[in-house]
Amino acid sequence: MNKRGSYQRYLNRFGWFCVTPATILFTLFMLYPILSSLYYVTRRWKGMSNTFIGLGNFVRMAHDKVFQGALANNFIFMVIQIPLMIFLALMLAVLLNQGIRRFRGALRLAIFLPAVTSLVVVSVLFRVLLQANGLLNNVMLDAHLISSPIGWLNDAFWAKVTIILAITWRWTGYNMVFFLVGLQSIDTEIYEAAEVDGASKLRQLFTITIPLLMPVILFSLVTSTSGTMQLLEEPNILTWQGGPANATMTAALYIYRQAFFINADFGYATAMSYVVVVISGVFAILQMRLLGERKAK
């Protein structure tokens, strides 16, 4: 009896031994930052010293047009880029899965390839390709598609388009692979039965493929939304510090700049990061709930 108890204790000790290193690192680099941010959020920094201002940072936010504009940009990118990308990824996945037999592997590989680049590399590549006298403008001028170069990087409207193009190039193939995995798990007998019933290919797409893929589509919606809320590399490097004139400023980039670039205003930056956390959290919960309902059906 006693021997058995000591063996149980040994097992339990080993269990703690396993999880302790990770838990220490978690406490230092996750729990401590989260808890100490509760202190930062109530303070106002002036040089090296700081004072308690309660909810003052949130009041300041209400009057900060640049931050509001940055949040609006996050929403614009979210509402336009995510549906566009999901549509493209879904179309490519369905075409790869059902449309062709030859070259399937090679085409899948090619379309996934942009996912091996880092966000910095994507930003650098597109910044060079989209210069006023760069490749894309040259090609379009030569093809007489445009009569004068487009200001991809220095026009407020086109700079937003540029960001959307770059993100779509980087992530479409990545999401397509998710959808391909989902498509391969659908039983082909369902399609054969639909074929017998005389359902057209388009009808099969809307009544079989898309409903069965919904969990994967929602998953990619959740991850893309959280990614869009964290956009930073692209507006910082590709359209240069959220330019032109904050046209591509995002919340994360503005927070970084307030804390580490323009000012050392750690309190205000923390307060703004709270807003980003809350918005991301609300989106995640809403989308997860949608996912949960689908699964329950």
Binding site: V19, F29, L113
Partner: protein
């Protein structure tokens, strides 16, 4: 007859769309590889015929831009993150899954709660912490916070679920120690899981930008992403040398992807299972 024609037309259309997507996806890679051999002006114009400036671009990248230093900084940081990350997260995932207890389940629950917190919300207190410990501008500052990953622990735990507990029991009867079971029996049979986790950790660190940007101040400590980003802020950009650095920074990831496609995709898709 008409059915057959309609079908081949549909197939041709599908192939055309896919080919278009493939060309758009692959083109920037070809352009940047050819760009290594061009003079800066031709890189910008997008000339796709190889030029003769490779040697001068390479020399510029390696001497005036310290490419070897950036490359080895990035490699060292990424590899150390992978080694420590696999050890710490693998052990934790194993402990949470195969040595469950009420208390440890609670710890795991707290870990999972933080999964959706964006990095930007953590960097300010972390910056102050590393400043306090005088660790700013060190590679340790980049490595230490990226070792533990809640996502990797979750991903590996999912995979440890599939390891049969009966084998562990049998080893215990044979007198094996718990550490021996983990190191000699469980780990060797989970190689695919470790490979996926390694790729995920490597990519995350090799590509990381925001945290190194905040902590690294001196040129000699910079990683490839930081080096590329600061090249873009120069008044005149050496496009040829830039393309050399871009290609070198993509190359390891490309090799990793082409040689381990299955684990690569599993690493990305880990959470879908």
């Amino acid at each position: 007859m008409s059915m057959v024609r309609k079908w081949t037309l549909g197939r041709a259309l599908a192939l055309l769309v896919l080919l278009g997507a493939a060309v758009i996806s692959v083109f920037p890679f070809i352009w940047m590889i050819v760009g290594m051999t061009l003079n800066p002006n031709d890189v910008l114009k997008g000339i796709l015929v190889p030029g003769r400036d490779f040697v001068s671009n390479w020399t510029k990248a390696t001497t005036s831009y310290n490419l070897p230093i950036f490359f080895f900084n990035s490699l060292k940081i990424a590899l150390l993150t992978v080694v420590f990350g696999l050890a710490v997260n693998g052990l934790a995932a194993y402990g949470f899954e195969k040595h469950q207890s009420k208390a440890r389940d609670k710890v795991f629950g707290v870990l999972m709660l933080t999964l959706i917190i964006p990095q930007i919300a953590l960097v300010i207190p972390m910056f102050r912490m590393f400043a306090f410990f005088k660790l700013l501008n060190t590679h340790a500052a980049i490595i230490l916070p990226s070792i533990m990953s809640v996502f990797i622990i979750f991903f590996m735990r999912q995979n440890f679920k599939m390891f049969p507990t009966e084998i562990m029991e049998a080893a215990r009867v044979d007198g094996a120690s718990e550490m021996g079971i983990f190191v000699r029996i469980v780990t060797p049979s989970m190689q695919a899981t470790y490979a996926s986790a390694a790729i995920y950790l490597f990519l995350g660190q090799w590509n990381s930008y925001l945290w190194p940007l905040i902590t690294i101040l001196s040129d000699a400590k910079k990683t490839l992403p930081l080096a590329m980003a600061s090249m873009m802020s120069a008044y005149t950009i050496e496009y040829g040398a830039l393309m050399v650095i871009v290609c070198i920074s993509v190359l390891p990831v490309l090799v990793l992807f082409l040689s381990m496609q299955k684990q690569f995709v599993a690493g990305l898709l880990g959470s879908v299972k």
